[in-house]
């Protein structure tokens, strides 16, 4: 049977090495500088048991980090949305162009076969009276041009 390892005496005074490591741990707990694994665990336990206020510097660093990331993301989102909206408008405009949304009546080609727009003066036999008569004049103009439009429609349909 091998000899069992010797159990340390719990009442024995601490060795020089133990005292030095205890001092290191105490210093690490009081300081906020990075430290080894055992000290980090002890700090976490200490913070959970009795949390301390954050230093102003640490608070500023946390706020800065928290604000920087979403701003960047938001900016990217806005840019993406802008491009998407722009592309949609361009597609809609192209569709309107190709399919002629809101298309006006079919235009008539400029040819001698059609009655053209011109002065309405020949509709009147002399200078206008000093005042009044405008309604009668526009009546006459509208009636005459309605006949012209009818002629043009017949010409376009090929029935003249």
């Amino acid at each position: 049977m091998p000899d069992r390892p010797e159990t340390p005496d719990p009442d024995a005074p601490p060795s020089e090495e133990e005292l030095a490591r205890a001092k290191e741990l105490r210093d690490a707990l009081e300081s906020s500088a990075p430290a080894g694994g055992g000290a980090e665990l002890a700090r976490a336990l200490s913070a959970a048991w009795s949390p301390k206020d954050l230093s102003a510097e640490a608070r500023r660093a946390l706020v800065k980090r928290a604000l920087a990331a979403p701003t960047l993301q938001r900016r990217r989102r806005v840019m993406r949305a802008s491009f998407a909206a722009g592309a949609l408008v361009a597609i809609a405009a192209g569709a309107a162009l190709v399919f002629g949304i809101g298309r006006a009546p079919q235009p008539m080609p400029a040819a001698d076969a059609y009655v053209s727009t011109r002065s309405t003066q020949p509709l009147f036999s002399g200078p206008f009276p000093r005042t009044g008569g405008e309604t009668a004049r526009v009546d006459r103009i509208a009636v005459a041009r309605a006949a012209d439009l009818r002629e043009n429609e017949f010409a376009r349909w090929g029935v003249r």
Binding site: V89, R103, P105, M108, T117, F124, P127, V138, I141, A146
Partner: protein
């Protein structure tokens, strides 16, 4: 940073392309009218857009008649103001109807002694009647009537010098109106008195 600048440039190019497409689409949709469309020309065939404008103008003149007869002078003026503000295709008929509507507006303002408003309407009407026609002659005549009435009002108010100047201006405008009408008649006789 360069990346953002590059994205901005791309965005501007996209925006410019979209604007150009929309403009072309609008021109296509409004064929028959000429405002802003590079391919539009005057002197085309009488079409629906010309007829629509003339029909609207006729309706608004009749509307003004009805309102005026019922004592609503402001309403009559509003109907005519709506007419002259209406967008229309580029056509001689449209210009002549607008010139005549401005003449009527000026006559109405003359009756309420709104000399400045009446003169403004005459000037706007003359912009639509640059050639010697009955319409231009009529507008010059209305302009003379405005000056004549203004001269009378000035004389009544004791401003004799200004009244004399206004009378002289009125005579000049009546002379110009008569000159335009003579040109029209001479031209008509030169054409053998042809009628439409």
């Amino acid at each position: 940073m360069n990346r953002w600048r590059w994205m901005l440039v791309r965005w501007c190019v996209l925006l410019a392309a979209t604007t150009a497409l929309l403009e072309l689409a609008a021109c296509r949709a409004e064929k028959g009218t000429v405002s802003g469309c590079p391919s539009a020309t005057a002197g085309g065939a009488v079409d629906e857009s010309v007829m629509a404008f003339l029909s609207a103008a006729r309706s608004l003149h009749h509307e003004a008649d009805v309102k005026d007869r019922s004592g609503d002078r402001a309403g009559a003026v509003a109907s005519l103001e709506r007419l002259v503000a209406m967008p229309g295709p580029r056509a001689t008929e449209v210009d002549e109807v607008l010139a005549d509507a401005y003449g009527r507006l000026a006559e109405m303002r003359l009756e309420t002694k709104d000399w400045a408003g009446a003169d403004r309407d005459v000037q706007a009407g003359l912009e639509h009647a640059r050639e010697p026609t009955y319409f231009r002659g009529h507008l010059l005549e209305v302009s003379g009537l405005i000056e004549e009435a203004r001269a009378a009002a000035l004389a009544d108010g004791g401003d004799r010098d200004e009244a004399t100047r206004a009378r002289a201006h009125a005579v000049d405008l009546f002379e110009r109106a008569a000159g335009v009408q003579e040109q029209v008649i001479e031209r008509a006789l030169g054409d053998g008195g042809a009628r439409d």
